[in-house]
């Protein structure tokens, strides 16, 4: 029998390889001694493996503090984004009023406003409020997200309207309709969106770079940049160990909820 299916796996495997190789080298280098790093950079299997790089990173920078900073900011932003997105999606789906669609598309337009246009006034605003080097300064401008509103609006629209109508006939209030009917029905989307928000905020570089120059307030990506400058491009093992540590939380979060994240995208029918 002619089998033509396996052939197409080849380009896909190449893409997978391209996606994974840099990560494999990060992990491998993190466990290598300096000699191994320089003499066998192509070897993906550190032997004997050493944990010295990780120990060095922990000693050189207050990693715990950075993780805490990053976590607090990511947590606040994620919670706020979810809350505002849920409320807005509810408002955009459950009520009809004049200008609703216009307003919705105006929200969507915000996705396309480049960061460069907004960063300067926002920076000035935060500086005037005295919020430089604070969690507030980093978190506040990111508390609403048009993509979140869009995705949740899509999810709510995919629920049969009769569910909400039945609740209305029973004179169920808005809070309960949202809490007991809609949110449970769109739980997978909420989880996926929450994880996505969390990962994106965790990884944020540009805005925290502008907001924070006090070292004790650094987030992980900023700390990584500082550490890279500190090590002056020689101590590769330690740098890869730091990169590994900084990536661990988002990767774990993703792997735990991988199906949710990917499936939500697949089913949301994200279209321009």
């Amino acid at each position: 029998m002619k089998t033509k299916i396996p052939w197409w796996h080849f380009p896909l495997l190449l893409v997978v390889l391209g996606s994974l190789l840099p990560l494999i080298w990060m992990l491998a280098t993190a466990w290598k001694t300096p000699e191994q790093v320089f003499n066998a950079s192509l070897n993906p299997w550190p032997y004997p493996a050493t944990a010295a790089n990780f120990a060095y990173v922990m000693g050189a920078i207050p990693l715990g503090r950075y993780i805490l900073n990053t976590f607090i900011i990511a947590f606040i932003v994620t919670a706020a984004k979810l809350l505002t997105s849920i409320l807005a999606a509810y408002g955009f789906t459950q009520f009809s009023f004049r200008g609703r669609e216009t307003l919705f598309y105006l929200c969507l337009l915000s996705i396309f406003v480049p960061f460069t246009v907004t960063m300067m006034p926002n920076y000035l605003f935060m500086s005037r409020m005295g919020w430089l080097n604070t969690y507030t300064g980093v978190a506040l401008p990111q508390m609403a997200d048009a993509l979140g509103i869009f995705l949740l609006r899509q999810s709510i629209r995919s629920i049969p309207p009769s569910l909400v109508e039945a609740a209305r006939l029973d004179r169920v209030g808005h809070g309960r309709i949202l809490g007991r009917v809609l949110l449970p029905a769109i739980k997978p989307s909420l989880i996926a969106l929450g994880i996505l928000f969390f990962i994106n905020t965790w990884n944020e570089y540009f805005w925290p770079l502008l907001m924070i120059n006090d070292k004790s307030m650094y987030t992980l990506p900023l700390a990584l940049q500082m550490f890279t400058n500190l090590e002056g491009g020689t101590n590769w093992g330690a740098m890869m160990a730091a990169a590994t540590l900084a990536s661990l939380p988002p990767v774990v979060a993703y792997l735990l909820a991988q199906r949710y994240v990917v499936d939500t995208f697949i089913h949301s029918g994200l279209k321009g």
Partner: protein, 304 residues
């Protein structure tokens, strides 16, 4: 006779406005305050000369614009942005589009495996990606050059070479964003009804013909979204490796418009010029998108 006590009609009318607007208010307030107001504010700043410290900005009219449009650095950054964008369009639109097509329509096993692994890099920070590639690109001991030497190929110093610095930095961004765009495109592709593909297969259409004449037109809405995001977000993403690894160097060979604006604001404190550059960038993007929309509109097929 009324059995239950109803609130008066006037109260009901007010309540009818209160709830929807109460729901929309938080999101709208944040978007207005931190996206749309700054947009206006930047526009205003672009007509002033100001160093962020002096108490009053000075009105200078169009001077900022004229000076910027006359400066070599701006045009350098402009052309670099174009170069970055073209590379990113190839690596973050065309390549994931085709990859997603292969996965969704030509391969029938291992869907979850591929999705999960291809998406993985996009959960990493660009800062992490930049540091990893800094090592991979290391001219002396880095794995990329070690491999090239092993194969007897030239091993350029990627990040300090005029010729290679832009592709090298673009690849970092592309590696990190590939998975996200891939998943978004895949979502569009799996929504194409299988029957349409089958009908085409009965006509002896090749895989390429099916992609180009059926799948691509039917997913052009999704593709347009990815294209727009690649153009706008891409130049923003590239900023991170530029700032972290080359600082625009060697000799401004890797600057882009975002980095240019950043430098003028936070290194040179020429707020007005930076604002003018930001507005010009916005106009260029807007014009580009308008053009693309006009050109693509004919081919774009929206389901609704």
């Amino acid at each position: 006779m009324k059995i239950a006590r109803e609130p008066g009609p006037k109260f009901a009318a007010i309540k009818g406005y209160l709830v929807p607007w109460g729901c929309l208010a938080p999101a709208l307030a944040f978007l207005a305050l931190f996206t749309f107001w700054p947009l206006v504010s930047t526009l205003k700043l672009s007509f002033y000369q100001w160093n962020m410290v002096s108490p009053t900005p000075k009105w200078v009219g169009l001077t900022n614009y004229l000076e910027i449009l006359r400066s070599r650095e701006f045009w350098l950054a402009f052309w670099h942005t174009l170069e970055y964008t073209l590379i990113l369009l190839a690596l973050n639109l065309a390549l994931p589009y085709i990859t997603a097509y292969i996965l969704s329509h030509l391969v029938f096993k291992g869907q979850n495996f591929y999705r999960a692994l291809i998406f993985l890099p996009s959960v990493l920070s660009l800062a992490v990606a930049a540091v990893i590639f800094l090592w991979l690109y290391n001219p002396l001991a880095g794995p990329v050059n070690a491999l090239l030497r092993l194969l007897g190929l030239p091993a350029p110093p990627w990040l300090s070479s005029y010729r290679w610095v832009i592709p090298a930095l673009a690849v970092i961004t592309a590696w990190k964003s590939f998975g996200y765009n891939f998943i978004v495109l895949l979502a569009g592709l799996v929504a194409v009804p299988l029957e349409l593909i089958e009908a085409a297969r009965l006509e002896k259409a090749s895989n390429w013909q099916i992609f180009w004449r059926i799948v691509r037109p039917l997913t052009s809405g999704t593709a347009l979204y990815v294209l727009v995001m690649t153009v706008i977000i891409g130049s923003q993403y590239v900023f991170v490796p530029i700032q972290m690894l080359t600082n625009g160097g060697p000799d401004q060979a890797s600057t882009n418009l975002v980095f240019f604006i950043y430098q003028y604001t936070f290194n040179f404190f020429q707020t007005g010029k930076a604002a003018a550059a930001a507005v010009i960038t916005l106009i260029i993007f807007g014009g580009l998108l308008f053009l693309q929309k006009r050109v693509l509109e004919k081919g774009v097929y929206y389901e609704n």
